[in-house]
């Protein structure tokens, strides 16, 4: 199940609209392969929140429901601007994060491409809806700009909330930079909407480190856009209590309490997980693999996702100056989890460090569960609650572990 799959044609094309025709905003419906690989990209210098707006501008989104979550990310407000300019068909504010996710479900049931954003406590408040989306096979995209979730309240980056999403049945992609975020948002729609996948996707980034950070991103022209979602490609009929994955009797599914109802439910959960795994064959060509690797023949590896990868890259530079050579594995998709790829990439490593922006070390746990001789995995360094992870901290952690004396005065 976890072997890489060859796919000569990168993705299935939509026949829903004629390529080359224009939408009402004078954008040309463009084959996604052209948009991602052939169109010329020009550099822009902007924040992650602005990058979300730029992606949605060319994503042919039908509905976006907003719950204002500034100061975490201005994305919801920026998408409102796009709506006022005419780029989306529907946009409105929900009364809470929970309501927003329910309203998103309604729009997706209705056949729209749906996008929304959330963060931290908002994600947890909306939680019930995520497995509901997955079970209903709704390919909604939620951009999660991750922040602290526990009391005392924090608006700063912390990736603990991702651990709550691990078993919701959603695809989860973790962006390292604003560039990743842009690409993931657009490619995410395409993968999530494939008929053999057709489940929701969480495109995640670290709040502040990506959302508020100005960085250089390469963007394709704004007068191109994705082909819209084709609701007739849905692998299931519109599902609700009256219309479960299999029809049993006249009565709603939930009224049953017997073996076949449990069995139906269990097999459907398996099917959703299988859909997550089936997304690999579309994701691997689009993201150039589920992981990126650099110098994995080295004895020491840093393996992580999101901003921790960036901090790791700087740490590797610092260690290099001292003659300590370290390789890097960047995990792009948390679900599907790249088991086989990580096993392969880390097979020669003696020490596998997993820097994380959360207290729990959930990513280290995931990695420990799939690599042999997992005492090689060192869960750390960790920061949490909004703390920054200076690259010097990663350097110290590695040196301490290797028994190299760390100078107290930098």
């Amino acid at each position: 199940m976890n072997k890489p799959v060859e796919s000569p044609n990168r993705v299935i094309k939509s026949q829903h609209v004629k390529l080359g025709t224009k939408n009402k905003m004078d954008q040309t419906y463009t084959d996604i392969n052209t948009m991602f690989y052939d169109a010329e990209r020009t550099p822009s210098f902007m924040t992650g929140s602005e990058v979300i707006r730029q992606a949605i501008k060319v994503a042919s989104v039908g509905t976006s429901v907003a719950y204002p979550i500034t100061p975490q990310s201005e994305a919801a407000a920026l998408i409102g601007e796009l709506y006022s300019e005419g780029y989306l068909d529907e946009y409105f504010r929900g009364e809470s994060e929970f309501a927003v996710m329910g309203q998103c479900a309604g729009a997706a049931f209705g056949g729209h491409r749906v996008f929304t954003t959330t963060a931290g406590p908002g994600t947890l408040r909306a939680m019930e809806n995520f497995p509901m989306w997955a079970g209903s096979r709704l390919p909604i995209q939620v951009c999660v700009t991750m922040r602290g979730v526990n009391s005392p309240l924090s608006i700063q980056p912390d990736t603990l909330e991702a651990s709550y999403l691990l078993e919701t049945g959603m695809l989860m992609w973790h962006a390292e930079t604003a560039q990743d975020l842009y690409d993931f948002i657009l490619k995410g729609f395409i993968v999530a909407e494939q008929p053999d996948v057709h489940i929701p996707i969480a495109t995640m980034c670290d709040g502040f480190f990506v959302t508020h950070t100005k960085d250089t991103v390469m963007l394709p022209p704004e007068d191109l856009c994705l082909t819209p979602y084709d609701p007739y490609k849905s692998p299931v009929p519109c599902m609700d209590m009256e219309c479960p994955p299999i029809r049993m009797m006249r009565d709603p599914f939930i009224m049953k309490s017997n073996y076949i109802s449990y069995s139906t439910h269990a097999s459907w959960q398996q099917e959703v997980r299988a859909a997550v795994e089936r997304s690999r064959k579309h994701t691997i060509p689009l993201l150039d693999g589920l992981i990126d690797v650099e110098n994995i023949d080295r004895e020491i590896l840093l393996v992580s996702s999101g901003t921790a990868v960036s901090q790791g890259r700087e740490a590797i530079r610092l260690l290099e100056e001292e003659g300590i050579k370290v390789g890097l594995v960047k995990i792009k998709t948390i679900r599907p989890f790249p088991h086989e790829e990580i096993r392969e990439a880390t097979k020669r490593a003696k020490h596998i460090f997993v820097p994380e922006f959360n207290m729990a070390g959930w990513l280290a746990r995931e990695i420990k569960a799939v690599v042999p001789d997992n005492e090689r995995v060192i869960a750390g360094p960790h920061v949490a609650g909004g703390m920054t992870m200076p690259s010097e901290v990663i350097v110290e952690e590695i040196k301490k572990y290797l028994g190299i004396k760390v100078a107290s005065n930098r």
Binding site: T70, G386, T388
Partner: protein
């Protein structure tokens, strides 16, 4: 050889510390350098501590988040020091050897211990009355951030006046959507001028004057970071 400069800006909510960081990074980016800027703040509240960070270098920068080991520390408001409204204590904690501190103040705010610790690290302190300059030239204290930007550029030459001018046009010359707090302040400052062009000019004048004063100070005091990045950025 110049490789990287890390700048930490500590100010109070509403002073434009975030905007200043973004402008500096945009200017450096325009000038062909690599740069990253990001702010850190709590729920947006005026006069609450707010920090922002700019990293500028000649190779791609990955590092982001709070700047723990800065080369330059800029203090936008005396309260950052007198009322400890900074994210680190003392406000210069983590500053690297041969660094630079620029404080918006008319008086010396440091005690003997601070002076000793900073001079042991060969860190220069530039007391610069940015708010006075902002009131004189920009006619509003909201231009304090511009004066601070000019001072930083004037000492280090990390970016030139032309690049700052371009960044200013980009940021204020067109419609800009930000969070509620920033939008309100943008409106407040725009209202002070009949035309946006006047606002841009007043800001640029403040930056330029401050840049010149900083050059004078640099000439006299010879800080370690004097003209450290001169000529690094491509010229226009």
């Amino acid at each position: 050889m110049f490789k990287r400069i890390n700048i930490r800006i500590s100010g109070l909510g509403g002073q434009g510390a975030v905007t200043a960081a973004h402008l500096l990074a945009m200017a450096a980016n325009n000038a062909g350098l690599y740069s990253i800027s990001n702010p850190f703040f709590g729920a947006e509240k005026r006069m609450a501590p707010a920090e922002s960070y700019v990293r500028i270098g000649v190779e791609r920068i990955y590092d982001r988040g709070e700047l723990v080991y800065p080369d330059v520390v800029m203090i936008f408001h005396p309260q950052v020091i007198t009322m400890q409204k900074s994210y680190t204590a003392p406000f210069y904690d983590g500053i690297k050897e041969n660094g630079l501190v620029i404080i918006n103040t008319s008086a010396d705010l440091l005690n003997e211990e601070d002076h000793k610790r900073l001079s042991d690290l060969n860190v220069s302190v530039f007391n610069h009355d940015a708010t006075k300059l902002a009131l004189e030239i920009g006619k509003t204290e909201l231009s304090t951030n511009m004066a601070m930007l000019g001072a930083c550029a004037g000492v280090t030459k990390i970016v030139g006046l032309e690049a700052l001018d371009v960044a200013l046009q980009e940021r204020f010359g067109k419609r800009y959507v930000a969070s509620g707090g920033t939008a309100t302040l943008d409106q407040a400052i725009t209202k002070k001028y009949a035309k946006k062009a006047q606002l841009l000019q007043a800001n640029m004048d403040t930056i330029t004057k401050s840049f010149e004063l900083a050059e004078e100070w640099t000439e006299k005091n010879k800080p370690a970071l004097a003209n450290v990045a001169a000529g690094v950025a491509k010229s226009f």
